[in-house]
Symmetry: D3
Subunit: 158 residues, 6 copies
């Protein structure tokens, strides 16, 4: 199991030692979708003056969720993120709300998990706020779309 960095030679879970890594600018972007009934999407869209409230509550939850990553993911390092940005967009052609999160750090380890956690928490919050009208919503395609900084180089998925 030596290729899984979160296990030592005996297969025991460890928080990887990043003390020897260079402090560089790390950046990661993740995306995901909440797929729902067309009527649910329309309710979010047509909120009138109140428009955007579902999206703005979810955006905040995603930003705060990124900060909780080391509390949630057992082997993640505590990090002093320098930036978190979460965006939600309506995709009517796919009956979905798309979530995108970008995190940055000047540090010794990547911020993929922070971006993915932000997306997940924002998506869960969309579910929470709309579940009274649509229990069948699904969170789909939570994935890393971009990563840069660090020894392993950049990653660009789409």
């Amino acid at each position: 199991m030596s290729d899984f960095t979160h296990f030592d030679a005996e297969g025991k879970a460890v928080m990887v030692d990043v003390g020897g890594k260079a402090e560089t600018e790390r950046r990661a972007t993740a995306k995901g979708e909440v797929v729902m009934q067309p009527e649910t999407l329309e309710m979010i869209r047509s909120g009138g003056v109140k428009k955007g409230d579902v999206l703005s509550v979810a955006r905040l939850a995603g930003i705060m969720g990124a900060k909780r990553t080391p509390d949630l993911i057992p082997l993640c390092h505590p990090l002093a993120l320098t930036s978190v940005k979460v965006d939600l967009r309506l995709l009517p052609e796919r009956n979905a709300v798309e979530v995108e999160a970008t995190c940055k750090l000047n540090g010794r380890t990547g911020v993929e998990m922070e971006a993915l956690t932000a997306v997940s928490v924002a998506a869960l919050t969309v579910y929470d706020m709309c579940k009274a009208v649509d229990r069948g919503m699904r969170i789909e395609a939570v994935r890393l779309t971009h990563k840069s900084g660090g020894k392993s180089g950049s990653y660009e998925a789409e």
Copy 2:
């Protein structure tokens, strides 16, 4: 926006008042999948003595994640969960790890968000532990599959 219970008549976000609801046994089950390269799945499966470590770390993270739900989802009530169970299974025919979580409560509000959060955190942990070998993994189909207890009756999705 009156059908979204998390907004009041003026469209402001609120934590719904559940004080008047009856204390009943509430139960919710959620599922999701982490889809990956066949080689990644094989690495998880063939860990030998160490087999199961990815899954057991993720299971624990999911259980602990369920308890953090009110810290993460802005309008969720703090709850004294009576049970959390998280299961992970390899689905080789779909190149996926399936996550299933069931939460229970004797209380005044449903526990769907706790089950969905447990699934999401467990899935994120699988991603974290395998990301060094497979950055293209995707978390898919996070959804509520069962719900019972409370005035709105039972829900059975599959």
Copy 3:
């Protein structure tokens, strides 16, 4: 110091034993104000489409803050709040944003601290979001305005 319930007979800090108290509906309302430059208030008010964002971010922060009360206030009991409501209003005649929070519980102890914490966290969030344009803002008059339920009876301040 026998009249301070948070100290025992020897003057040591304790979390008061509420096990013998009756489970009743407890409710508390607190208020406070963030006093600022007229220009700052006008900026919040005139946000156009974006209007309300400062207030809606602060409202969410207040709701989430109420849930963190037992983590923050050393001798507060952990509570399963049944309702949290936070409202923010512009008071142009006083160059202030007013914050009001109401918390409810079916339980054995009052929820004054939860309401006061919600007001304080919402007010701090207003400060945070506007501090780039007005460092001289002040949080004033954070106080309990209403309390009911429990042996000590109701309290009505204004």
Copy 4:
């Protein structure tokens, strides 16, 4: 709304990107007061051997509260504070307990919110510990009194 740094060009809440800022010594001091009945202040003052317990509990709560700032204030960065100091003083001529907090950081963003949060949590703790004898206490004048470090220069309020 471009002058509010916590919103992007479209008015969406963001955690400001501080990655490009220089690491300098940042320092902030905040103050506030808990105004109460003269009898309540006297009870705090005359605690005899036990003197100071209300103040020392509140001091600790303030220090710990400063560390929780990024969990409470949605758009605050997680920071590795290098120093937190919280002081409480009796002001008999104003029937008040004064709270003063100073935070320091070698970092990329200011620590005003940490100092203000420390003051607020300490003040709320004074309220909690004395509320059995005086429900009418008020938290007043929570404000930034000093700030230094960073591009925007120093600020001195009093």
Copy 5:
């Protein structure tokens, strides 16, 4: 492994389902000691006016630590504790500070872990506050001394 209640029939970690247990008054007391150099104990004892500060900081930390138990111990249930009491005593004849914590709950599961966590966190805080003068301190004999309530009956260790 069927006798370990935290594993299911397949040996997977679970949070035990306590939904079917009766709500009764549960109580647990735990003790522990911090053993140190005589000079260190004397410094704690002879603090003059400041006497008791090490002990009172540790007492508060223990009380707050009890509330964090479900965040720390993976399979512990979140509980609404009704009482937490932490006491520290100097034991000069054994060059030790003794810590004792009692927790109570009206609920469906025991509070042993809350009492043991309170003792451990208080003991760690004593270590933290004195470590500049005595790095060789040891935390010893952290144990359950009393437990009552619940189906399994009472336990009395000393």
Copy 6:
């Protein structure tokens, strides 16, 4: 009380100012034991396929516990740990499970408390998982065994 660094000249608790200290590699190792009935140790040892589950749950809890140190120990600084490693070993000749934790940081303050907290939380988790079969377990000899980095030099206890 001037030798206790966590008090200022007036005996008030402070979080020590480490802003002037150099950023160096800090490392600390701590150990402790959970002493139990021989039968309990044998149950942990002979778990068959499931072998190691008690130990692996406790290991994870210890790693996550290290990250919560600044939330638990009032005067500890928030730190961006670069590595956490927790090991558990069966010591049949002493009827004990031994816990060892090593933490690292590139920073301005030592990580003794993080290592000691990791040991304590892992030991508490062992207790939690085995308490149904052995309530008389004791956590013993939690101590610092190694420390390096920083002005005060290295420390080696065994």
